[in-house]
Each structure stands twice: as structure tokens, then as C-alpha cells.
Amino acid sequence: MQVDHAVCAFCGCDCDDIRVTVEDDRITQVRNACVLGKAWFMNHSQPSDLPVARIAGSPVSLDEGVEEAARCLAGSRYPLVYGLSSTSCEAQRTAVALAEVLGGCIDCCTSVCHGPSGMALQGVGEPTCTLGEVKNRADLIIYWGSNPGESHPRHMVRYAVMPKGMFIPRGRKDRTVVLVDVRRTASAAAVDMFLQIKPGKDFEALWVLQAIVRGQKLDKTSVEETGLTLEQVNWLADKMMHCKFGVLFAGQGLTQTRGKHFNTSAAFLLVRALHQHTKFAIIPMRGHGNVTGVDNVLGWQTGYPFGVNFSLGYPRFNPGEFTVVDLCCRNEVDAAIVVAADPVATLPARAARHLAAIPTIAVDTHESKTTKIAHVAFTTCTVGIHVEGTVYRMDNIPILLRKILSSPYPSDQEVISRLLTRVKELKAC
């Protein structure tokens, strides 16, 4: 059987033109996907020998796992719901309800990837567009602090650089592509101009560009600390002001560097200032397949995109207080449920040690460093392969994932729903 228009939900591109061949309820061939997408389809479609639930590493039934996990969460004084970047919006919505019933915190992988972009758009506004508009209109593409050649291998090919569009009839030939970064990455080979800035000087470089866009005349001493020459910044500012439709793709080079939300705010302000001259948009290069979705779900349900606390019975937002690194490194939370994420493998070691020291519930499709330390671990099926669901692409476009294979495992949403029901009973809500 051949499945056309399958969706790869590994990264924020969520490419929906994947062709999958299925034989004997197994995926045997994946076409159109990048190396990351092929690895995602092939590995997530392999039969698993993991039990559906484990308590302290020992196999138990789903009912027993749900009972133990619900007891841990309901008995907690300050629980954390975390992860959610690689599951469906339907599961994310249920997880928000669980966090509210628990009166704890809910945070997602956004806080350690593009949280600073979320903070910037709250403060500045978000001049944005869809990737369809990028394909059809954008004649200037700037990647800043991003290495799409390795992190989003089809981004250039499918959306931003190579495709021919309605007003970009010659595709690549009609676009100018610029890469700004502290090192010459693999992506530099695909651009027209690589501008190498000094490490930690993103804010200064963005502010210099904004000054030029706003009509300031700068001398070479004003720009030298950025690592760029006056000629380079004037060239880039001129390209930005005189393009027909420009897009700045902001990477984690901005969000994970000193300055963080000040860097992203400077980028958003630059794009806003460019609207005095032309059309311009900014899109964060979101990493996980539905990390944009969890921002949206949390946004429409609580008003905030990440780092949300329900202790007072209503949602409060405070990055640095209700975010996973801070909650774990300060040893504040006393139980955690992690859904579709692997914080033990991705967070600072001190945070990982705290998760190992408290009752942690892991809900994941495969074995991970977090499932290995979890008090209760659930094995679930993969959304987009075994169960349908909704994800949001990096440009906030919702995409429906379809079921391709059958699975003996429950979905993330089913496990969280059962936990929610049981926690409500235990807390007599």
C-alpha cells in the first residue's frame, strides 16, 4: 500500500508531501523526506517490545500504571506537567486540563528553544506570514542564528529558497539569501552572502541594522564590535529596505545566547521598522514537530505560551519561575509528568538529577533517558503514524496527521485522559 501526502512530524517544517510505502503493516520505504524525516518514520514504525506500562522498571498493566501515576500526581504538592512538543494538540489540550486540576505548573519545550521569541512577540508584536507566502512572494530570505541545512534540511528546498512561486517565477534565481551566524555552517554553501558576526553580538548587530533602517548615519566605529564592516551592514540594510517581501528566519543562535529575549526583541523590532519601507516578516525556526502547537494550545487555553502556573486556581505566566529548568534546578517540584519529550537527555544535568530524584511519570513512544529514570513509564503510539491528530507548522498553520499503521499501544491523549479522570476522582473534583 502506498500512502501519499503523509506528514513528517519530526521538525517544525511538518512536510506534508511524504510518500510512504506500507507492507505487512510496516513502513518499508519513505520518499521525499529528509534524513531526519526518514529516521523518524522508519524508527517510529518499528514494532516495540516495551510493556505498555512500567512501575520502577517492572511491567504492569495500563490500569495499574494509571493508578500509580495518578496517585503520585494527586498526592504531590507542586507537580509539573512538561514536554508536549512531539504530540498532538488534542493530547496537549488534555494535558492543560490535567495541570489545572493538579494546581501545578505546565511548561513545554518552548522554554528551552524559542521561549525568548514568545516573550519578544508579547512585547513587540509579531509581523508574520505563512510559509506559503514565503514560497510565493519572498525575494529576500535571511537566516539569523540558524543552520537549516542540518536542523531543517527541507526548509530551503521546499519553502524558502528553491521553490518557484506565484511572484517568484524563477525560484532560487529570484531570491537573495543571506546567512548571519557566528560560524560558517553547512548552510553557508546555499546562500548568496554569509555574514559572520562576533559571538554574543547579535543584539548589537540587529540594533545597528535598525538604526540604519530608521535613517541614522553610522560610521565604522559604530559597527566594528559586531564583527561586521560598515559596508556589510549597509549592504544588508539596503537589501532589506529595497526587497519586495523579506523574511527573517530566527534561530536558536538568538534565543540561547546571552541577551535571549532582548536579542529576539531586537529582531522583531527591526522587522517592524522595515515596514516603513517594504513588506517584511519574521518566523522562528521551531525545532520539534508540534512545539508550535503547544504554544497555540496553551495560548488559547491559558493566555500564555509556556511556563504557566495554576497554583492560585487561575493561570499565571512567569519565565524564570514557572519554567522547567528553574523549577527543577531549584528542587521546587515534587512530582512531574513528562509527555513526548526527553528532559533527562536535553536539560542541564542538575535539572535531570532532580527529575530522577522525584516521582516522574514518562509518557513516550520509545525508550528514552527519561523513561529509564521514571517511576512510572507508559509506552504510547506515535501520532502521525499510529493515530491521527493535529499539529501546527512553524508558521502556525494547523496540519492533520493521519493514521498509517495499527498499534497495540494507547495514544498520548488516551493515557493523559485516563490520568485526568483518575486524578479528578482522587482529588474529589
Binding site: 543552520n147 526527553d342 537527555a345
Partner: protein, 116 residues
């Protein structure tokens, strides 16, 4: 062996990204997240050679990595996201929720096989 100071940046690599799906317990992922890209001049100054094992240290922890010559500016080094860099990243987020995952000040020294 004297310690040599570098600025470390972390990020995604294709092999590390594929390893997320294939399994973090497998050798490919482990190797992909323990390769340190260095400028050849820094490598010579620090007494390291391509393929050497080196120990990176911050005030919070250390990690052993395999050095590789790369096209990267002097004073800068790159490692893919993974268990090695997690030992080096601090827990201070400066009220942003985001730890300093890039531009970490680190010290690096060759690991002499007998001392491992």
C-alpha cells in the same frame, strides 16, 4: 597538561537529530554528541590533535569529547546537543527560563590515556 580556554556553542547536527529517532542509547548518537569541532590553530595551541580525547570543564561539570578539526573561528568550539554538553550548561536562566546553552566559557585539556 595546561588548560586552554574556549567559547563553546551548542546546536543541532544532522546525525544528532537522526539519533533522536533511532535511539539515544545507540553508538551513532553517542558519538555525534561527543564530537567537538575546533579551529586548527586552537587545536595546535592547546596541544591537541584531530581525534584526540579532551576534557571540557565549566564550573558546573565536565565532559570528555573527541576533537575534530573544523572550519570555525579561532576561540570558538561547537558541540551537538546531547549528554556531554548538558553537563556543562548552567542552571541560571536570568528570568527567561532559558539556560545559557551557547557561548559557554570552557576550559579544555587533553585526556592522557593513562590517566583516564
Amino acid at each position: 597538561m595546561a588548560k586552554f580556554k574556549l567559547m563553546l556553542i551548542t546546536g543541532r547536527s544532522t546525525k544528532q537529530g537522526a539519533g533522536i529517532s533511532s535511539g539515544k542509547e545507540y553508538r551513532d548518537y553517542e558519538e555525534a554528541t561527543r564530537i567537538l569541532d575546533m579551529n586548527p590553530v586552537d587545536m595546535e595551541r592547546s596541544g591537541l590533535r584531530d581525534g584526540d580525547t579532551a576534557r571540557i570543564t565549566t564550573g558546573l561539570g565536565s565532559a570528555d569529547v573527541t576533537c575534530r578539526v573544523a572550519d570555525i573561528p579561532e576561540g570558538l568550539a561547537f558541540i551537538a546537543f546531547g549528554p556531554a554538553c548538558n553537563n556543562l550548561v548552567g542552571d541560571e536562566t536570568y528570568a527567561s527560563g532559558m539556560p545559557d546553552s551557547k557561548h559557554l566559557q570552557v576550559e579544555i585539556a587533553r585526556v592522557i590515556p593513562e590517566s583516564r
